[in-house]
C-alpha cells in the first residue's frame, strides 16, 4: 500500500498508481486504456451484463468483467490479450445475432450510406441505414473497434411491434441489447421505477408492468432512458431522423421559474433537441418533460408566425415590416398614453423587459403596464416567495413537507432533491391529493378534508399559538415541525383554491412560528425578473379600466390573456405565436424567442441565468428590442437606445421583487364540505404552464395527452366502481352545476378526487375544491 490511499497495479505490463476502491474499468479509463463496453454507465451501479469488458487478472480464475471487479494492491491485469479479443468478438457476435446488423457487416455499407441506393419497403429497422441512431450508436462503434465482418451464429429477429403510442419517444425493442441502462437510470438516478426487465431468458422484455403504456404507468417522460440507450431502441419522436447534432450549446430552459441549465442540440441552424448538462450519451433525468421534450416543439412549432400581418377590412394580410412600423407608429402617435395598456409576458428576458419598460414609459408614456399572470392570488403567493431558499438547501433540511405539490411533469430538480433526501432517511410528508413521483417516498401522505383546507393549516397555527388539541393526522405534522427544522415546499395548485389567500396567510404564520424554511415553486419563467424591474399594475385593475372604457389600445408583448377581442380600438399582438382566433388584433408582429435571442432570466433567489442565442431566425422575424428601437425612432425618440449594452445598463444591480398593492374587497368565501350525496372532490386547476401567452398543452400534442384540458382525471379505483373506461363520458354534478366531460384514468390523482384542468379564466363549478357526484353517460 502506498501513501495517500493509492495502490500499485500493473496493466498490460505497465505499472500505475491508482486510487483504492476503483473498479478495473475506472482505473483503465483514468489511464486512457480503452476497453470496449456497452452496459457500463459511470453513475449507475455496475451491471456486468454485456460481458465485453472482460479482462485477465493473475490469480483470478476465468475472465472477470472490468466494470464489476475492484482493483487490489499488486493486481496484474491484461486487457487486450489475443484470447480476450477473440472472446469479445464472439460475445459481440452473440449480441448481434439478435440485433439487426445487416448493414454493420455489409461490404457495401459505405457506398450504400453515401447513395442510399437501396429502397426497401420495410416499416422497421433491419439495418443501420434505417436506424435513428445511425453513426451515433455505441454498438456500431464497438463493432468497428472489434472489426467484425461476419456473424457465425444464426440470426434471430424478434419481430416485436414498435411501440409508438406513448408521447415523446418511440420504442423498438427489436434493437435492444438488454444492457439495462434505461432500467437502472429510471430506478437509481431518477428514482421513478417505471420500467424494468420483465420475464426471463429469451422472453425478456423491458417496460412497465402488465404491458401498460408508459403514460398509464405514471412515467414522468424525463427522457433519461432515451439519452442513455446505446442503441436506437429508444428514440425521440422529434429528433428521430435529425442525425448527429453539430453543436451542443449550453443555455437554460425558460418554461418554469427553476430555469434549469440545459444544452441545446443544433444542426444546420435548427434546434434538434435539448438535454440536461453533461455527456450527451450518459446524461439524463435532471429535467422534466418540458425541458427535455417541449422546448424543441415550441421553437420549431409550425404555428409560429413568421411575417408581420395586418387586419385589413377584408381580412388578415401579410405586410412588410416597413408598413407595419408605419401603421403602429401612426396609431401610437395619436394615442393618449394613459389610454394604452402594455401587457408583458413573464417569459421575456430581463433585457426585453427593461426595453419594453423604457418604450412604454418614454415613448408611449403610459403607466398601465401589467401581466396577465399577476392575479390577485398570485400576489400573496409571490410575496411569500421572498423568503424562498435556494434549491440546493432542500436536501440539507432535516425534514421536508410538501404542500399541494404536483411534481410528476414539473419541477424535476425539486422532486429529485426530495427523493434523494427521503432515501437518505430525511422524513418527508406530502399534503395534497396528487399522487406524484415523490409520493412513494413520503412517510405520510395527508389529504385535508374537502372544504376544510383552511382549517387544516389554521389548526396547525392554533396548536402552536394556544397549544390547542389537534387530530392525530395534524399531530404528525406538528411533530415534524417541533423535532426538526423543516422545509415547506409550496406548489402553485394552491392558487386555484377558493380560500387560497387565507391558506397562504396561515402558512406565513406557520413559518414565523416554527422558523421553517420555504421553497416556493414559481410556474412562470422570468416572473421574478418581471416583478423586480417594472412596477406592474394588478391585472384586475387594467381589466376594470378596459370595461370602464378608460383604455383604447392594447400592446400585447408575448402576453395573450384575451380569448375574445375586448372593447378597444387598436391591438398590437407582438409574439412568436399567433393570437387566439377571436382576439382579431389589428397588427401582428412576429418576434424571435428562446434559442434565437440571448438574455437573462432571474430566479426567485436572485440568481441570474443566461439564455443564449444558438440559431438565427429568418429575416422576417425581429427581436422585441429591435422592434422597440425602430418604433421609437419612428415616433421621434431616436435618443433612446435599445442595444444590448444600453439595455443591460438599465437593469438594476440588485433585483428585489416589487408587488403592487391590491385592494380587492374581502369577499365572503363559500366553501362546501363533502357529503354522502356528493362523495367525490373535484379539484379545478387553471392551466398554469404557458409560454408567451400560449398554453403549452395546446401547442404540444404530447403534453396534451399527459395533462388533458376539459377532461376529468380520475383514479382507476374510482372508475372501476362506475365501470368507467378511458374516453367514456361522465356527468359531473355539484350542488349547482352539472356538466358532461370525457374521462381519462390516471393513478396520479388520489382515489376520491377528480382533477379538471381548464384554460378558462373562471371555473365552471362554484367552489374549489367542490364536492361532486359522478355518473357514467350511457351512449
Amino acid at each position: 500500500m502506498q501513501n495517500n490511499g493509492k495502490i500499485k497495479i500493473t496493466i498490460n505490463n505497465q505499472s500505475y498508481d491508482v486510487e483504492n476502491k476503483l473498479t478495473i474499468l475506472h482505473a483503465t479509463q483514468q489511464n486512457d486504456i480503452f476497453i470496449p463496453h456497452l452496459c457500463f454507465h459511470p453513475e449507475l451501479s455496475p451491471y456486468g451484463g454485456c460481458r465485453l469488458c472482460i479482462v485477465e487478472v493473475d490469480g483470478v480464475k476465468g475472465y472477470p468483467t472490468a466494470c464489476t471487479t475492484q482493483v487490489k494492491d499488486g493486481m496484474t491485469i491484461r486487457t487486450h490479450s489475443k484470447i480476450l479479443q477473440e472472446m469479445r468478438t464472439e460475445i459481440l457476435q452473440l449480441i448481434l445475432s439478435e440485433h439487426p446488423s445487416a448493414c454493420l457487416i455489409c461490404d457495401e455499407a459505405e457506398e450504400c450510406s453515401d447513395y442510399q441506393g437501396t429502397i426497401r419497403k420495410v416499416g422497421f429497422t433491419t439495418g443501420c441505414r434505417w436506424c435513428p441512431k445511425d453513426k451515433d450508436c455505441e454498438l456500431q462503434k464497438v463493432v468497428e473497434y472489434l472489426k467484425i465482418d461476419e456473424i457465425e451464429f444464426p440470426v434471430y429477429y424478434r419481430n416485436l411491434p414498435v411501440e409508438k403510442k406513448d408521447p415523446f419517444f418511440d420504442r423498438d425493442y427489436n434493437l435492444c441489447i438488454y444492457c439495462g441502462r434505461c432500467v437502472r437510470i429510471c430506478h437509481e438516478h431518477r428514482k421513478s421505477s417505471i420500467i424494468s426487465l420483465n420475464n426471463r431468458g429469451r422472453y425478456s422484455t423491458i417496460g412497465p408492468a402488465f404491458n401498460q403504456s408508459h403514460l398509464d404507468a405514471n412515467c414522468e417522460f424525463c427522457g433519461a432512458c432515451v439519452s442513455v440507450c446505446p442503441t436506437g431502441t429508444l428514440s425521440e419522436k422529434t429528433k428521430k431522423w435529425s442525425g448527429i447534432p453539430e453543436k451542443y450549446n449550453s443555455s437554460i430552459c425558460s418554461l418554469c421559474g427553476l430555469n434549469c441549465d440545459i444544452q441545446i442540440l443544433t444542426k444546420e441552424n435548427k434546434v434538434i433537441g435539448t438535454l440536461p448538462l453533461g455527456d450527451p450519451h450518459l446524461t439524463g433525468g435532471e429535467l422534466c418533460v418540458k425541458g427535455r421534450f417541449c422546448l424543441i416543439e415550441l421553437v420549431n412549432n409550425p404555428d409560429r408566425i413568421l411575417e408581420p400581418q395586418y387586419q385589413f377590412p377584408e381580412g388578415l394580410g401579410f405586410i412588410t415590416w416597413e408598413e407595419a412600423f408605419l401603421k403602429a407608429s401612426d396609431k401610437l402617435k395619436k394615442a393618449d398614453g394613459n389610454k394604452v395598456a402594455v401587457y408583458l409576458s413573464p417569459n421575456l428576458t430581463l433585457e426585453e423587459i427593461v426595453a419594453a419598460k423604457q418604450f412604454a414609459q418614454q415613448v408611449i408614456k403610459t403607466i398601465n403596464i401589467t401581466s396577465s399572470v399577476l392575479t390577485n392570488n398570485l400576489i400573496p403567493y409571490i410575496s411569500l416567495a421572498e423568503k424562498s431558499i435556494s434549491i440546493e438547501k432542500i436536501e440539507k433540511s432535516e425534514s421536508i413537507i410538501s404542500l399541494f405539490l404536483n411534481g410528476n411533469y414539473n419541477y424535476a430538480p425539486v422532486t429529485l432533491a426530495i427523493k434523494r433526501a427521503a432515501e437518505k432517511g430525511i422524513p418527508y410528508l406530502q399534503i395534497g391529493w396528487i399522487n406524484d413521483t415523490t409520493s412513494r417516498f413520503a412517510s405520510h401522505h395527508l389529504t385535508p378534508e374537502t372544504g376544510k383546507e383552511k382549517e387544516f393549516v389554521k389548526e396547525i397555527v392554533e396548536s402552536f399559538e394556544k397549544g390547542k388539541e389537534v387530530s392525530p393526522e395534524i399531530s404528525e405534522v406538528m411533530k415534524l415541525f417541533k423535532d426538526s427544522s423543516s422545509t415547506i415546499i409550496l406548489g402553485p395548485t394552491i392558487l386555484d383554491l377558493t380560500e387560497a389567500k387565507e391558506i397562504l396567510r396561515n402558512i406565513e404564520k406557520i413559518i414565523k412560528l416554527t422558523g421553517s424554511k420555504l421553497f416556493v415553486l414559481n410556474p412562470y419563467g422570468n416572473l421574478p425578473g418581471l416583478l423586480s424591474s417594472v412596477d406592474l399594475k394588478p391585472h384586475q385593475d387594467i381589466l376594470d379600466k378596459i370595461s370602464k372604457g378608460k383604455i383604447d389600445s392594447l400592446y400585447l408583448i408575448g402576453d395573450s390573456p384575451f380569448k375574445k377581442r375586448p372593447n378597444v380600438n387598436f391591438i398590437i399582438h407582438q409574439s412568436p405565436f399567433p393570437p387566439s382566433e377571436k382576439l382579431k388584433p389589428d397588427l401582428i408582429l412576429p418576434t424571435a424567442t428562446w434559442s434565437e435571442i440571448s438574455g437573462t432570466y432571474v430566479t426567485l433567489t436572485d440568481k441570474r441565468k443566461k439564455l443564449k442565442a444558438v440559431v438565427k431566425t429568418s429575416e422576417k422575424v425581429l427581436s422585441n428590442s429591435a422592434i422597440f428601437a425602430k418604433l421609437a425612432k419612428k415616433l421621434g425618440k431616436q435618443e433612446l437606445k435599445f442595444n444590448k449594452k444600453e439595455l443591460s445598463k438599465l437593469i438594476p444591480k440588485k433585483l428585489t421583487i416589487k408587488l403592487p398593492e391590491f385592494n380587492s374587497k374581502p369577499k365572503k368565501n363559500i366553501v362546501q364540505i363533502k357529503t354522502r350525496a356528493f362523495p367525490y372532490t373535484l379539484i379545478q386547476e387553471k392551466n398554469l404552464y404557458t409560454y408567451m401567452g400560449m398554453y403549452l398543452n395546446q401547442l404540444i400534442e404530447g403534453l396534451r395527452e399527459i395533462e388533458p384540458e376539459e377532461t376529468l382525471i380520475i383514479n382507476p379505483i374510482d372508475a372501476s366502481k362506475f365501470d368507467i373506461q378511458n374516453g367514456d363520458n361522465v356527468m359531473l354534478k355539484s350542488h349547482k352545476i352539472s356538466k358532461k366531460y370525457p374521462v381519462v384514468l390516471r393513478k396520479t390523482i388520489s382515489p376520491g378526487f377528480i382533477r379538471l384542468i381548464t384554460s378558462n379564466k373562471t371555473f365552471e363549478f362554484e367552489t374549489n375544491p367542490c364536492p361532486v357526484k359522478i355518473r357514467r353517460v350511457n351512449v
Binding site: 430506478h187 417505471i194 424494468s196 408492468a209 402488465f210
Partner: protein
C-alpha cells in the same frame, strides 16, 4: 373465479413474512393458486415497493404464475437423465390425455401440466411430480393410472360437495 379479500390476504401475508417480497408472493400464490393482477397494486403500496419491481420478480421466477392454475399441478421432468429414459414421451402422452399443451390448464381447472428441466433426483428418473409429490421410474402406463386416480378423487370430491349442498 372471483378474487376476493385482496386487502386482507395481502395484509396477512405481509404480517407473516415481514417486508420480504418473495415469501409474501409465495404465500399469496398458495392462497389463490396463482398471482392475480389485483394483488400487485396492493402489495406494491403496502410494502412500499414500486409496482414494476413486484411485477419483475413475479415474472422472473418460473414458480410464480400470473395465470390461474388447476387444482392439481403435474410437473414432468425433462432433465437429461429423464429425457433419455422417455420423459418427453410421458409428457406428450399426459398432454394428449388432458387435451392441453405443457404450460396450459384444462378448461375445468382441474389439471395444469408443466415441464421443468430437472427435479433433482435423476437416479429415479423418469420422474413426474404431482402437487409436490414425486413419482419415480415412471412409464406411460403408470402415468395414465396415476392420472386416473386423481380424476377419480376429483369426482368423489365433487359428489361430496353436491351431496353436502
Amino acid at each position: 373465479m372471483e378474487i376476493t379479500n385482496v386487502a386482507e390476504v395481502v395484509d396477512e401475508c405481509i404480517q407473516k413474512n415481514g417486508n420480504t417480497l418473495i415469501p409474501v408472493l409465495q404465500d399469496i400464490q398458495s392462497h389463490y393458486n396463482y398471482l392475480p393482477e389485483e394483488i400487485f397494486d396492493e402489495v406494491s403500496q403496502k410494502m412500499n415497493i414500486p409496482l414494476i419491481d413486484v411485477y419483475g420478480v413475479a415474472t422472473f421466477y418460473k414458480s410464480f404464475s400470473l395465470t390461474p392454475k388447476g387444482k392439481h399441478i403435474i410437473t414432468v421432468c425433462m432433465g437429461t437423465a429423464c429425457h433419455v429414459r422417455g420423459g418427453q414421451r410421458i409428457a406428450e402422452r399426459i398432454a394428449r390425455e388432458l387435451e392441453i399443451e405443457p404450460g396450459e390448464t384444462t378448461s375445468d381447472m382441474n389439471f395444469t401440466l408443466e415441464t421443468v428441466n430437472c427435479l433433482g433426483c435423476c437416479a429415479i428418473g423418469p420422474i413426474i411430480m404431482i402437487d409436490g409429490e414425486y413419482y419415480g421410474q415412471m412409464t406411460i402406463q403408470k402415468a395414465i393410472s396415476l392420472l386416473n386416480e386423481y380424476k377419480a378423487k376429483l369426482k368423489e370430491e365433487e359428489a361430496d360437495d353436491s351431496s353436502k349442498s
